[in-house]
């Protein structure tokens, strides 16, 4: 009796756990030929749709959806209906790679938007390269993704021909913030902290190098675990180091409590970081302690761009529950770039896509190199590495619980 109930219980718990984890994944519903006699092109999307970074991920998903909807309504590509297949990578490289494999396996998928995290991007690159499928990331900022591991020594080689991105890289994001803080804000002493991840460590490194080159002083460095919430000991160290500000290379789930605990420890100094701190969630988590903190982000502030006004209007009209966040505009442009590449291929191939999926994917990837259009975030185009030709960056500061633009400009090396 006891053994039977044991068996039933174990089965129930296991089944329960499996069912729950299955909640996150979507069924493969392959609807053939959604729009009458035309072809359907599926654009894959990979971002963290749940978990700590979901605020950014949902913004990416909604914006991509908006681009697909707009393309279908305007019949941007005659005879082609676009469809979006969003997958959740929970900000984990392993899940991202699984998603990539899944997208490659679906013959209707012609290109992928995403992901958000640089380490996830790293894990997906090869899968897409093997399938000749184009990938456009709205948010990966680590330089090695396009310029190879040796980029810092000046040996730039593009590792994967299928990888493109519309965001600028940490190679200029870190130095941009360093120059502004040293030259304009006259802050001379910094405490540099990073989370040891591809993105965070890279960003903190480029920042510290430039800051020291300018004549600033790094009075302390430390590293944290991205899942930690307790930074009291580090905060005390920061306070006693006499730093003018903290530079944090990492994402807001750890960045916000870190900034808050630094201020709580009695050091009334701002925490500055990269685009992964540029989120409303940052302010929600650090509350009043977020005041005065700064974050750099890629591109010009959307609210100041004429090209972005229509996007913001349409986004609001579409009635999405969540904000487009830091990467909404970039996600829209990434999706639009894939649509434009499909259009170029269709135009050249007598009004239809090549019948063979592999051939079509290859053609679209090649067409991506020449894509150029006026996007939400400015001019969209790619250089020989797959990096954006747009080198605009901005710095934001938290005022009254909101990130407001502080300065914006192109980075001059």
């Amino acid at each position: 009796m006891r053994h039977r109930s044991l068996l039933i219980l174990t089965t129930a718990v296991t089944a329960g756990a499996l069912t729950l984890s299955a909640c996150g994944s979507r069924d493969d519903d392959s609807e053939d030929g959604g729009g009458g006699d035309g072809t359907t092109v599926v654009i894959g999307l990979d971002a963290p749709l749940t978990g700590d970074l979901s605020a950014l991920g949902i913004g990416i998903q909604n914006s991509a959806e908006l681009a697909v909807k707009t393309a279908n309504e305007n019949e941007e590509v005659k005879g082609v209906t676009f469809e979006l297949e969003p997958l959740d990578d929970v900000a984990q490289a392993q899940q991202g790679q699984q998603n990539a494999t899944k997208l490659v396996g679906n013959e209707d998928v012609m290109g992928v938007v995403g992901p958000l995290n640089s380490d996830v991007g790293q894990s997906m690159q090869k899968v897409f390269a093997d399938a000749d499928m184009v990938q456009v990331s709205p948010a990966n900022t680590n330089p090695s993704l396009t310029q190879g591991e040796e980029w810092q020594d000046g040996e730039k080689t593009r590792p994967f021909d299928t990888y493109f991105r519309v965001s600028t890289t940490d190679a200029i994001q870190g130095p941009y913030a360093a120059q502004y803080l040293y030259n304009e804000k006259k802050l001379k002493k910094v405490f540099v902290i990073d989370d040891k991840k591809t993105y965070g460590a890279g960003l903190a490194g480029t920042f510290a190098d430039e800051f020291e080159n300018l004549g600033g002083k790094v009075v302390g460095t430390d590293h944290v675990n991205p899942d930690d919430k307790d930074f009291a000991a580090i905060a005390t160290k920061v306070k006693n180091s006499g730093a003018d500000f903290v530079y944090y290379g990492g994402e807001y789930p750890a960045g916000a409590p870190l900034a808050a605990q630094v201020k709580k420890a009695g050091a009334k100094i701002p925490t500055v970081g990269g685009d992964a701190l540029f989120s409303a969630e940052y302010v929600a988590l650090a509350k009043e302690n977020a005041e005065g903190d700064m974050a750099s982000s890629v591109g010009a502030p959307l609210t100041t761009l004429d090209t972005a006004k229509e996007f913001i209007k349409n986004y609001e009209a579409a009635g999405y529950e969540d904000a487009y966040e830091a990467y909404g505009g970039y996600s829209y442009d990434s999706t639009w770039a894939i649509i434009q590449a499909v259009k170029a291929v269709v135009d050249e191939n007598d009004g239809e896509l090549p019948g063979d999926a592999d051939e079509a994917r290859k053609a679209i990837t090649e067409a991506m190199n020449d894509v150029s259009f006026e996007g939400v975030t400015g001019k969209v185009g790619f250089d020989e590495f797959g990096d954006t030709t747009n080198k605009q960056l901005s710095l934001y500061q938290v005022k009254d619980g909101e990130h407001v633009p502080l300065t914006s400009g192109e980075f001059e090396g």
Binding site: L20, G51, D52, K196, N240
Partner: protein, 309 residues
């Protein structure tokens, strides 16, 4: 080293938090020799219970007024889940090989985490938790956050109350008897099933109290917070001598202090720059654990078998 008092205070507070959670591991282990890996999630659910109560409060309620109700709600939620876990997940497995309940505990831990993730509104990301505002309390050599006063009061009060309960009351003594020899205790007329439920309930209540301290200290709760906190608390329980309630608290404090010291000072030792700081604090904490277990396999207070409860 002039920040030593402050770093000691940081470590002590963190350690008290670990200790409160560790009580749950140690009590359950002391009585049924089960490592309840779902205890971290019971802690997490307490945090969400308190948050729910706070969200029910009318806007503008002072946190001080709401706090007793939040504690009550957190304790109710945690105890319900803790006792439910004992009744439906562990009791059917009593007498089964030791690995069966252990695996069940791990499965339950994942299931509870995912349940909150899936069904608590907006719990897929961190939920902000109310905090006490106002300047820090200045004790001269060190300062602490207002919200941390709660932890500073709650931890010793809980410990004293538990110590009194275990050694002086009838139920407490029955608990000690059960932990020493469950079969004989049963023959002496002790309802061991009830005692086991009590152990789970007390552990869960302490975890709930710790969860509020966690929320007040870090300003957020999230569905994953039980994993790391639970792991650390389990370490604290082993460090102090698993099965011993005072050991759990002492193990927690030692662990918290060693983490703070490792973060603050290891990097200052010449030649150790790369091995210090926040990223290495867990490594040093576990080095300490291994050293303690090499010298005293039973943990710091492990020999006081008679106090097991």
């Amino acid at each position: 080293m002039n920040d030593l008092p402050q770093q000691l205070a940081n470590g002590l507070l963190l350690g008290a938090l670990y200790g409160l959670i560790a009580i749950g591991y140690t009590m359950v282990y002391g009585i049924v020799q089960l490592i309840n890996f779902a205890h971290g999630e019971i802690f997490m659910i307490g945090g969400f219970g308190a948050l729910t109560m706070w969200l029910w409060m009318p806007n503008g309620t002072s946190l001080l007024v709401a706090l007793p109700l939040m504690i009550l709600m957190a304790v109710i939620c945690s105890v319900l889940v803790g006792v439910g876990a004992e009744r439906f997940a562990y009791r059917p497995l009593r007498g089964a090989p030791r690995l069966a309940p252990l695996i069940t505990a791990i499965g339950l831990s994942i299931a509870l985490q995912q349940a909150i993730w899936a069904w608590y509104p907006e719990a897929t990301k961190s939920r902000p938790f109310p905090e006490f505002s106002g300047p820090r309390l200045d004790f001269g050599a060190f300062t602490i956050e207002r919200g941390e006063l709660y932890l500073l009061i709650a931890a010793p009060v809980c410990m004293i109350a538990l110590g009194f309960f275990v050694s002086k009351t009838r139920t407490g003594r029955a608990m000690q008897a059960t932990s020493q020899d469950p079969d004989t205790a049963k023959l002496m007329g002790i309802n061991t099933d009830r005692i086991i439920v009590m152990a789970f309930a007390i552990g869960a209540a302490f975890a709930a109290i710790a969860a509020i301290a966690h929320g007040l200290r870090y300003g957020e709760v999230n569905f994953k917070m039980g994993f790391i906190a639970g792991l650390k608390a389990f370490t604290a329980a082993v460090l102090g001598g698993i099965g011993n309630i005072y050991g759990a608290m002492i193990g927690g404090v030692v662990l918290g202090l060693s983490e703070a010291m490792a973060t603050a000072y290891i990097a200052d030792i010449p030649g150790m720059e790369q091995l210090g700081g926040g990223a290495w604090k867990d490594v040093w904490a576990f080095v300490l654990l291994i050293l303690v277990l090499l010298l005293r396999p039973q943990g710091l207070l492990g020999e006081r078998v008679s106090d097991r409860a």
